[in-house]
């Protein structure tokens, strides 16, 4: 372990900037966005310097820590506000600050017509600070602070245009769904504390080797619940689609590249828990598998371009979660997919934002068409992201997603076939719905509203898209060459060196299968969407109807949780009013009566006051007498 003194700046700079911009108010309107962007960029620069410094160190010394201050000290329970920068967290630091900076730059142009642009940038900085705290905390409690911080920033940004009630409701929905997950995290922390007496990662890791299976499974299950809430995984996935109410750069940064992947980070960081509890691992892969199919299926029927991308995000994170459930071999691939996904999905979201920017904020893809002609750069960057998510070699997704499919098949036995089949099927459906997005938006014929005059976005917007597109192309190859990322992360996730030589399918065959499935998906979509009606057809199959309604996830929540909950609270209110308030009213009534009788004693006459005093003295003397008798 190396002791560092500079880690705190990673968090302090954006936090300070956020506070400053919020406190200064309109005074900072002129330069607030530039300032926030510079802060974000400098955080990225510090991150890069930390990365090279870390490369210069060897072995154990690579991880750096910094104790910022003593936070809680109650009896034997002590928590320091300490930061930990190791091989895992540096990946996130670079991703968050790098993609974050690009999105800051993009937002300067995207939000230029918004009168609250300064506030928007303050929230973005707040998000960067909270997210960095999340990945830099050295204990579950520090992580929890960041975890809540990103939840707050996400809430503020989803509801940024809260003058529209629907958007404010979406923000609330995201907040509530996240709360459910947060309860999981706090329970996990509490169980960990009762079991191990500490909540630092190092301490829990040490304790986990000797802990009972039941406790580990309980912690694992609660951590999974937390991850499901934050990363929009089954059964807490319903908020992500509505979260698209936020400005598009927010969707790109928070709801695609970084915050929603916090669940993957949490599970990877807690690898010592999951490795020791096969039951918890099984739950993780089941959740991942269900979500990856669930999201992909929803994606096939969405006409709103952002919601289609959101469904895709859900599905892709399902892949990552599934990978983390596959044990030591899976963590590195999950993180690799997380990074490549960060590039290509953020790029596509920015592309979607660019299209919306040119089309008067139209989000319905049925009103798009033939946009490649007016927005060639957007079409090109979006297209590169598209190839990456499909997993076409040599684009980024090929390396990361194929590895996950491979690992899933190699899980062995029935489990391996089921999981492998699910990931393969998911890849096919992904190819279908992403091709659908491409065709509806960029190809075909114009179906624009007559007021729409699409045009290419300004430089400040397309430059970040271009950078992300380069990442979509090259990141997978770079991370995979010579197993760079796998070796890099090995000290954190304890990569086991088993070799998969005896499996029934060679890796090449699996890649080929994946490509075939993808090709089928693409072909199917191209054939199906040769003509596109402007209004979504009504006479569709039951499946399409269900997918349009997010596979009834909201109806399910309403029927199972909301209505009984409302009944329960109504009943409680009634009980509260009749029974508890009744009791209180009786007490209050008694007190009122005694109060007014005391008031009567207070007559205002000195003679009666003196009499009271004499009686008091007599009582006092009598009391003294009795006590000493």
């Amino acid at each position: 372990m190396t002791t560092s003194t500079s880690l705190v700046y990673l968090i302090a700079l954006p936090l300070f900037s956020a506070g400053l911009l919020l406190l200064l108010g309109r005074i900072a309107d002129k330069w607030g966005h530039i300032f926030a962007t510079l802060v974000s960029a400098s955080v990225f620069v510090i991150g890069v310097m930390e990365f090279f410094a870390m490369q210069g160190r060897e072995g154990e010394a690579r991880a750096a820590t910094q104790k910022v201050f003593e936070w809680i000290s109650v009896g034997t329970f002590q928590v320091d506000a300490s930061l930990l920068l190791d091989q895992l967290s540096i990946c996130f630091v670079l991703l968050i600050s790098g993609v974050g900076t690009l999105i800051h730059i993009y937002s300067i142009a995207y939000m230029s017509h918004d009168r609250d642009r300064r506030r928007f940038f303050a929230y973005l900085n707040l998000f960067i600070a909270a997210m960095l705290l999340l990945v830099l905390g050295d204990s579950y409690l520090n992580l929890y602070v960041g975890w809540e911080g990103v939840g707050l920033a996400s809430y503020l940004l989803i509801g940024f245009w809260n003058q529209k009630p629907a958007y404010a409701t979406a923000a609330k929905k995201a907040f509530v769904a996240n709360r459910v997950g947060d309860v999981g995290l706090s329970l996990a922390i509490m169980i960990a504390f009762t079991q191990f007496g500490t909540v630092t990662f190092a301490g829990v890791k040490e304790g986990a080797s000797g802990a009972s299976a039941g406790a580990l499974t309980a912690i694992g299950a609660m951590l999974l619940l937390a991850a499901a809430g934050k990363s929009a995984q089954f059964p807490l996935q319903s908020w992500l689609g509505d979260a698209m109410a936020g400005p598009t750069p927010v969707s790109a940064l928070i709801h695609a590249a970084t915050m929603v992947t916090a669940g993957v980070y949490l599970i990877t960081r807690s690898n010592f828990i999951f490795d020791a509890s096969p039951t918890a691992q099984l739950m993780v892969v089941i959740v991942g598998a269900i979500t990856l199919l669930f999201g992909a299926l929803i994606g096939t029927a969405k006409d709103d371009i952002k919601k289609a991308l959101a469904a895709s995000t859900m599905s892709q994170i399902g892949y990552m979660i599934l990978a983390t459930g596959l044990g030591p071999v899976g963590y590195a691939f999950a993180i690799m997919h997380l990074i490549t996904h960060g590039f290509f999905k953020a790029g596509m979201f920015l592309g979607a934002g660019s299209v919306m920017h040119g089309m008067n904020d139209e989000v319905n893809m049925r009103r798009y068409g033939a946009i490649r002609k007016v927005m060639p750069i957007t079409a090109a960057t979006f297209g590169l992201g598209y190839l990456a998510i499909l997993g076409v070699p040599p684009f980024a997704g090929f390396y990361s997603k194929d590895k996950i499919i491979e690992t899933a098949f190699y899980a062995g036995g029935v489990e391996g076939i089921l999981l492998g089949g699910a990931t393969l099927l998911g890849a096919g459906i992904t190819a279908f719905y992403m091709t659908r997005v491409m065709v509806l938006t960029f190809a075909g014929t114009k179906r624009w509203d007559e007021n729409a005059h699409p045009h290419e976005s300004p430089f400040l917007m397309w430059a970040p898209m271009a950078v992300l597109a380069v990442g979509s192309v090259a990141s997978g190859f770079l991370l995979n060459s010579g197993n760079a990322l796998v070796n890099w992360l090995e000290p954190v996730v304890n990569e086991s060196h088993e070799h998969h030589s005896e499996h029934f399918l060679p890796p090449l065959a699996i890649s080929a299968m994946a490509l075939v499935v993808v090709a089928i998906g693409v072909a199917f979509a191209i054939l199906k969407y040769r003509t596109v009606p402007v209004v979504a057809p009504e006479n569709v199959t039951g499946f399409t109807k269900a997918a349009r309604k997010d596979l009834y996830q909201d109806s399910f929540n309403e029927a199972v949780f909301m209505r009984p909950g409302q009944k329960l609270t109504a009943g409680l209110v009634k009980t509260d009013y009749k029974v508890i308030d009744g009791l209180v009213r009786v007490v209050g009534w008694v007190i009122q009566i005694s109060a007014s009788s005391i008031r009567n004693i207070q007559s205002g006459y000195v003679r009666s006051y003196a009499l009271i005093m004499v009686l008091g003295v007599l009582a006092l003397v009598a009391a003294v007498w009795m006590v000493t008798l």
Partner: protein
Amino acid sequence: MLTAPKLDYALLAPMLIILGAALIGVLIEAFAKQAWRARLQLVVALGAIVISFEQLFRVRNQGSSIAAVTSVSIDGTGIFLQGAILIFAFLGILIIADHDNFAPQASALPGSPEEAAAIQAGKQQTEVFPLTLFAVAGMMLFPVATDFITLFVALEVLSLPLYLMAGLSRRRRLLSQEAALKYFLLGAYSSAFFLFGAALLYGYSGTLSLNGLTDAIRGSGGNDVFLLLGIAFLSVGLLFKVGAVPFHSWTPDVYQGAPTPITGFMAAATKAAAFGATLRIFYLGLDSAQTSWKPIIAVIAVITMIVGSIAAISQRDMKRMLAFSSIAHAGFILTAVVSLNQNALSATLFYLLAYGVATIGAFGVITLVRDSAGEVSDVNRWVGLGKKSPLVASVFSLFLLSFAGIPLTSGFVGKFSIFSAAYESGNIYLVVAGVLTSAIAVFFYLRVILMLFFADSTNDSVSVVIPSILTRISISICALITIVLGIAPSLLFDIAQDFAYFLR
């Protein structure tokens, strides 16, 4: 041959400075030009307080049980309380300086032609400043006095000016003078009991000093009719000053009638002085006879808490409500007297300072809420003030929350530490009573806050005057201290712990 008694002037200086300034104040009143008088008095009073405080700070680590032969013992508790009283005096005088609250000529009959003429001529008399300083000197002496003669002298020195000051209100003169007379009559009555008690104790022990009394109790055992009657009578005098039931009846009338700035100062500083003396007498002089007085004081504490909290509910006047609230607070502090341990002592010191500051602030705010006829203390007419003057209403709410003992205010820390000390000493029923009555008390504090902010105003005649800069400073300091002590109580708590000791 007689030898002059040896006096430790450095330790006595804080009191002497205040007394000297009070005498100078009398001379200013007689000789200074009318135009300069008020300003000169203010400067002298504040200056004396600052110098006195500075001297007190200088000797804070010294101490002597024979500062003035055997009559005065300057020790940690004494120094802390003297400092607290000086702070209260400083904050109080800043508000008192707004002379709009005081009768221009105290000697004139209410409504008489002389009074009208004085108002017309704008001839303000400013005797309130020297009176305040005399009272402050008495208050500083009361908690450090160690023999009964000095205690009695201090009691009278602090009381007599207060009787006069209670009658100085400019508006509602009759009510004010009635309050002053009541205060005087009942005060004299209780002083008689105090003196009678001292005489009985002298009869028992043959000495006037607290140390001598302790030795006598240890020597002869605590079961003597003179001792028991003496304790009972002495307690009456002390309980009267702190406003404990059943010797509280004067409190609401005097708090209501006295000019509001005086009420605030009096409520804060008298309580500190009287509790200082009470603690010294019970901790030091009567410690060995605790079995005979502890249960009684405990019962009085409970009754005081209950009566204060419940009676406050039915009050319709803001000042009367705060009067009953101060009675309830006296009950809370009495639990610390019963606890008889070092933690209780430091908790009391903290509580007295925190409560006093909030009290001065709260009464300071009341001086600001007026209609054309002067201050409005009718609770119902404060309705909706939060919309008209959000800042003033928020500050007042802050003080009320502190009285109620809501966390993040100084009141919470004070109550918590007092109750935990009581719990430590095994008086669990006192803690239960304290918590229950606190819960009742929250009701009327919160009701006022609700009225301020969540009800619609019914009339527009009430308004908040723009406070003078001095009043503003005073209220701001009070609010600041209330918040800071709520957030970082250890700032004061550590000091209180260091100073919580008595020298025999």
